[in-house]
Amino acid sequence: MNAMSFETRHNLSIGLRYALLILIATIFIFPILFMVMSSLKPDLQMLRDSASLRAFLPVGDISLNNYAEAFERVPIVQFAFNSVFTTSVSVAASLLLNSMAAFSFAFLQWRGKAIVLSLIIATFIVPFEVIAIPMLLVANNLPWIGPEGIEIGWLNSYHVQIIPFIADSLGIFLFYQYFRDLPDELVEAARIDGASIWQIYARIVMPIAGPIVATVAILKFLVMWNAYIWPLMTIRSEELRPIMVGLQYFFQLNIAWGEIMAYLSMVTIPVLIFYLALQRAFIESIATSGIKG
């Protein structure tokens, strides 16, 4: 009897746990489901369905017309290429530069290290909007070697979308926090074996930094993929515009809601793929270091 009731309680507990997990999953999935389903419906039907459960179902006049029209309205392929390019280069460069900076803070001894680290961490509290205009003015006066020699001004280029975002205080901090928790013996043993600083960085520390690399990569990817204000300020040509700015193309006098949902569905796919690819390492990083993305 006791065994039965224990089993029942156990089953009930599992059932409740699953019910709770399904409820939470539903809360997170419903907006995505709404987005995808709405992308298949004409505007009027989508707006009418939005007040009922039909909004989450592929019912009514279903087609891929919104996708076709979104492609006609916005040069999606060009914008996607621009975003993939600027994001990939930024993420790669950011991982390299920030991990090297953090390595220096964690393992090298140099004067003023604590003050510099404090200053870098202090920049967390400065929102991008505060420094956007000074950054614009600086970027407008920086030299660059172009096809016609040295040019002044970085505006309207790929590099203005990449270089200012490579050094990242959050990335440095996250790497630093991870490196600091590594056992000192690891580095000391390598030093005794005659490894140089570069060898310790490249062959000892970075190979075991997978979880934090994944975390910094995901965070940087999200920032760069969602870039909006900075490209608005610095990019004039449609050929260089990133994908998030393209969303604004749909906000005309009569807003094309269905096309917006189709565009968002397409824009969200790379983010999901990138996250799913690094999910295991990302979760491990959270579990081991308490980092919250």
Partner: protein
């Protein structure tokens, strides 16, 4: 020998023609309509025609999405990178002119004859911008609904009076056939509030600012007329005649077409959908007269030139070329907007005599009043939007209007009077 001479002549001709072919000086034009295929196609056609029509100038377009266009212009002004020709939303123009982003136009005499007042952007006595079309607001209605309820159909000459309009709303609400008698568009936050609702205040005899001096709002916004407007406005919500400030945007888009609302306050950009849905039953009615005349908002996107343009003569030449009737007609036919001149309206598919949207042109001619022409308009608009929102939500009317006036006057003072006088 002759053959050699002929060859030399040919080469000389080719060499002399080459500079001619590339002699056109480039003019940059920034345009707010990226993602608007109809409007874009017409503008590209205008540019192509202009570039082919002469050998001095070649206009090169850069397109920006409307929602972020102003930010791009401000950023370009900061970095000293403004284009030659600027596309500008009319109420924003005084701010850009005052900030030194724009220079006055220098068009031929008579070039703007016959233009709707809302299509000509005048600031400080000078024309800074000109529009190829105008946006017009009307009361959307259905003839069958009005006739079934014995409601008089108003005309431009005899619009509904304030009392009559109120009675119409009560009658329609009492039928029980509609969720609300009148949809004013509370879901469309932002500039719609000022563009669409400030004409009601003006019809009551008030305004957001004293247009004589542009230095004070005291007594104009919060005086007797302002109070009367506020009381009427609040009562619409208290009596349930209009949807509240939390209106679902979906209802705003489809509510009138679905029969949820009996009347709707909406612009000509939405008129084609109403005509498609109701055919001849669709009516577009003039604004009611609350005592100081019927008024609707006016002025949409216009073209101007930047103060930093090194080729203002080329920029002026392009604008003068673009405002020909044939292009005004093209914009109207493709985009559904009201042409800026009567002669273009007569040639357009939608606004010609007997056309489905003809009434809008008459409304624009008779009732349009541009929004206050001041560099402080952006702040003015925010204060107005906040005030009508708070009043709709039940705030004390006099306190709300007084607070709005304080905000407006503080902003004017902070900006030294925006060039209208010493503060």
């Amino acid at each position: 020998m002759n053959r050699i001479l002929a060859m030399l002549l040919l080469i000389t001709l080719l060499l002399s023609a080459a500079p001619l072919a590339s002699a056109q000086t480039e003019l940059s034009l920034w345009y707010h309509g990226a993602g608007n295929p109809e409007e874009r196609a017409v503008l590209l056609n205008v540019i192509e025609d202009f570039n082919a029509s002469q050998s001095d100038w070649s206009v090169v377009i850069e397109e920006f999405p409307q929602e972020s266009y102003n930010s791009s212009i401000v950023a370009a002004a900061l970095s000293g990178d403004l284009p030659d020709i600027i596309d500008v939303d009319a109420p924003v123009m005084p701010g850009w002119a005052w900030s030194g982003y724009m220079a006055p136009l220098n068009l031929s005499e008579g070039a703007l004859d016959g233009f709707l007042p809302g299509a000509v952007g005048v600031y400080n006595g000078e024309v800074y911008a000109v529009g190829l079309w105008d946006a017009v607001v009307a009361i959307y209605a259905r003839r069958s609904v009005l006739e079934a309820n014995d409601i008089r159909i108003p005309t431009l000459e005899e619009p509904w009076t304030g009392e009559e309009f109120d009675a119409v709303l009560e009658t329609l609400q009492a039928t029980g056939d509609f969720e609300n008698a009148f949809d004013v568009g509370m879901a469309w936050k932002g500039e719609w509030y000022t563009y669409a609702f400030s004409p009601f205040l003006q019809s009551f005899g008030g305004d957001m600012i004293d247009r004589e001096t542009y230095l004070t709002a005291e007594g104009v916004f919060n005086g007797e007329a302002g109070l009367a407007f506020g009381e009427w406005w609040q009562s619409l919500f208290e009596r349930g005649l209009v949807p509240g400030t939390s209106q679902d945007p979906a209802d705003r888009d489809t509510g009138f077409l679905d029969g949820k609302y009996a009347l709707q306050w909406n612009g000509n950009w939405a008129a084609r959908a109403a005509v498609e849905a109701f055919g001849d039953d669709a009516l577009f009615l003039p604004a009611p007269d609350f005592g100081s005349g019927s008024t609707i908002g006016a002025a949409s996107w216009q073209f101007g030139i930047s103060s930093t343009s090194e080729h203002p003569e080329g920029a002026n030449a392009f604008i003068e070329f673009a405002i020909q009737d044939e292009y005004l007609v093209d914009f109207s036919n493709f985009g559904g907007l009201a042409p800026a001149t009567a002669s273009a309206a007569a040639m357009s598919d939608l606004y010609h005599e007997g056309g489905p949207l003809e009434v809008f042109f008459g409304l624009s001619q008779a009732q349009a009043l541009v929004r206050p022409v001041t560099p402080g308009y952006a702040n003015l608009s925010l204060s107005f939007e906040k005030a009508v929102t708070d009043i709709a939500d039940g705030a004390d009317i006099q306190d709300t209007l007084d607070a709005a006036v304080d905000e407006i006057e503080q902003d004017i003072e902070d900006n030294g009077g925006y060039g209208f006088g010493d503060m």
